[in-house]
Amino acid sequence: MTAQGAILRYGVHVPKLRLPRAAIDAAMAWANPPARKVSPGARAICNWDEDALTMAVEAARSCVAAPARGAAREAAALPHSIFFCSTSAPFADRDEAILLTSALDLPESIETLNLGGSLRAGTSALISALRHAHTAPSLVVASDARLTRVGSPQELTYGDAAAAMMLGPSGPAALATILATRTVGSDFVDHYRMNGADFDYALEERWVRDESLLQIVPKTVAELLSAAGCSGADIRHFAVPAGAAAAQRIARACGVEAAQRDERVLTECGDAGAALPLLMLSGALEAAAPGELILAVGIGQGIDALLLRAEAGVREGPRALSEALARRREESSYVRYLSHRGLLNVDFGMRAERDQRTAHTVAFRKRGALNGFQGGRCTRCGTVQFPPSRVCVNPACRATDTQAPYRLADSAGRVKSFTEDWQAYAARPPYLYGNVEFAEGGNLLMEITDTESGEIKINDAVRFVFRIKDDDRARGFRRYFWKATKA
């Protein structure tokens, strides 16, 4: 396949919470002692208000940075299509890519595709997006937060994270040109999860390694490199979604053992499913110098293999993976992690029984405010306010029907007042909220997330993140809204 496009931008989100694997060992080694030794590193875990969708929004934000205030977004910078790729999407039937589009404040005319069903979803979307890349950019977002059974091997190895990549025509600002791709499918059931099931069922790793990884990967890579007219020795970076020992053997089998491999993702975050190949590729993009070749693969009932060449853009490129991995807070409690993931039914008292039924009529007509965090800016007096309203809140103005949509998601905020509420129901007490003032003016009483007791002070700077607001357990529905977090 000839060159068709390039990675223009990418973003990574790794949840701030990290559960040390030693903490899992300490809690669960009794259940399977002979197989366990002290496990290094930590796994990234969603906070109670994060899931595959919220992580996807956060990862994608840096790919579609808002235009300067007052400036129109360049049509050419807009993605033609958005792919949301996940095997752990919260909804089985709801176009989450549309919700993603809405949260990113992008036009509803963008084509959306929701892909799941395979850990290759992310790489398959990249290959699919390439078809349009020479005419219009496409945004591929891969995100996974897979549940793991208590005491299982996956509990130690999986992690939650998301990565997003904007594909478009190659050019001087591109990060990497995709030179060639190759895909081969194979109904090799190394693990699976039926619809509606909570957990993966995984087969023996040695069988998977010997019969799948060491067969199909080298074969496909050889075909890819041959078609591209290069050899394994030319590859400087190998982004392979496999643990260090397996990756080493695969690299040798592919003839790319001299290539650099980023082992941080699996050690510090864990296997993030459909997002893992894109996270690995992000690591390669950070490390690569212009002109260097990158080999990236996605594996799941077959293989997607991509050959890329780093371009001049990587010199000034983001260090999104390093930054995401560096932003961390150790989760001290394995039990709290279980509760956040719904794996432990904690009694939070009668206040947790509150009915969270959604008036979907309201949610629909207010979707700009709720999904896109659009406030209103009075065209007469300039006052910014949330939510947008018919009559301007400025007591000196009060003009009617003068407000234009004004997105607040990317604004800077300041804590005007706050509390740590131990009485309210909170999945991670205390419930932290306060009055937040936006840099442009306007005030909103908001939840403050990813912040522990004692960390917030008056005048602290905050930024805004898209998170789970609450779950309607009676009807099985999840609501989202924006929250403040320490900048």
């Binding site: 509150r354 007042s417 509390t419 131990w422 306060g434 008056i458």
Partner: protein, 405 residues
């Protein structure tokens, strides 16, 4: 310019149930208890009541909607009844309805009843409720203590107090109200507490501890109002007249505009200025003898001393610690224990405050009766309600005065 309602309406009788965890009583029992006292005090027959107002907030937890629970509990003679609800200012709204009806000449005798049965929820604190179909989709699921606690964090920062200093003044407020309530047999909480106990109490919502919070109580309070002429015909000499009833609701500024700094209530000064004007009070610090304010939390009472004009801005902690609002201070506040200790059955609270002022002005407050230096009793009292939270609320200020025959 309207003439206002000063001295157009007087109180013929009042009643108040015992407040507290009234496990054996429903809202009907509480209303009958308050009404029996009020009708006996007024010295009239039930059928002379020409119109009635019912104030109840959490109707879904107790009475159900409409004014029927009042009409039916008291077996009123099918007179017009109206149910009002304005958050924690609900009781004062019931009084305002009855007083306005009499002032308008629509009737001669009207009843105001406030009731709340909170202790049928099965858990401590206030019941959970929806904030509205849209609001539930973006506002935090905050609690009352959490909403008010933010006053403290903002106030301390704005006025340069350490939280320890501010909490010392807040503790004084709670201790003062507990001390006052020991003299009040109808109060919910009648124990003395120490500042150290307040500071050591379990956290509810930073920086509020459980002893910074008012009681969650069941109770009812009731007023029968009439014209001065009818009162005289009933043989009453000294009567308590309504001098002002003012209300100031938020219009969204605190919620959405940056001009509010979060350290106080924007509405209370507005309601207070209107009430002082209506009552003809030029110097409230000198002219008002006692006050009952909406001390849902210790910090609320503290900032209200400034919002009502009794303390200079930023100085309330000093005035509180100096004892200015104690029983023997210049302006006794919460002489009956306040929301803190008399209790806070929401719909009844505004009328409970009026009940205390009424008793004090008539010299009928028993062990807790205030005397001035010359032995003269108080002549003018103020009540203040705050319905809602600092971010959006309804402030009501009422002034009651002694009208001698």
């Amino acid at each position: 310019m309207a003439s206002g309602i000063k001295n157009k309406v007087v109180i013929a009788g009042m009643g108040c149930s015992k407040f507290g965890e009234r496990w054996s009583c429903g809202p009907d029992d509480l209303m009958v208890e308050a009404f029996d006292e009020a009708i006996g005090d007024a010295g009239i027959e039930r059928d002379r009541i020409e119109a009635a107002w019912l104030g109840v907030f959490f109707d879904e937890q107790s009475t159900g909607k409409s004014s029927l629970p009042l009409s039916m509990a008291l077996r009123l003679p099918n007179v017009p009844t109206t149910r009002v609800e304005n958050l924690c200012a609900t009781g004062t709204e019931a009084l305002r309805g009855a007083v306005y009806a009499v002032a308008a000449g629509a009737c001669d005798i009207a009843l105001a009843m406030g009731v709340e049965k909170l202790k049928d929820t099965g858990f401590g604190g206030l019941p959970e409720r929806t904030k509205g179909t849209f609001e539930d989709l973006y506002l935090p699921s905050s609690t009352a203590p959490g909403a008010f606690a933010q006053l403290a964090s903002a106030y301390a920062d704005r006025h340069g107090y350490s939280m320890a200093e501010l909490k010392r003044a807040m503790a004084h407020i709670s201790c003062k109200s507990h001390e006052n309530a020991t003299r009040n047999p109808k109060a919910h909480l009648r124990n003395r507490i120490t500042p150290q106990q307040v500071l050591d109490a379990p956290a509810v919502s930073y920086p509020l501890g459980v002893l910074d919070c008012c009681g969650v109580s069941d109770g009812a309070a009731c007023a029968i109002v009439t014209t001065p002429a009818v009162a005289r015909s009933l043989g009453k000499r000294d009567v308590v007249a309504v001098q002002a009833l003012q209300l100031a609701p938020s219009n969204g500024v605190e919620m959405g505009h940056q001009s509010w700094d979060g350290t106080h209530t924007l509405t209370t000064p507005l309601a207070a200025q209107r009430a002082y004007a209506e009552a003809g009070i030029g110097n409230p610090r000198e002219q008002i003898d006692l006050i009952e304010v909406h001390d849902c939390f210790s910090i609320t009472e503290l900032v209200l001393m400034e919002d009502l004009g009794f303390s200079d801005i930023g100085r309330a902690p000093h005035d509180v610690l100096d004892g200015r609002y104690d029983r023997d201070g210049a302006i006794p506040c919460q002489i009956d224990g306040g929301l803190k200790c008399f209790g806070h059955p929401i719909g009844a609270t505004g009328l409970r405050m009026a009940y205390e002022i009424y008793l004090q002005l008539l010299g009928r407050a028993g062990d807790r009766q205030l005397r001035s230096g010359a032995g003269r009793g108080p002549a003018i009292g103020l009540t203040h309600n705050l319905g809602g939270i600092p971010n959006r609320n309804i402030a009501s200020v009422s002034i009651l005065g002694l009208l001698s025959a």
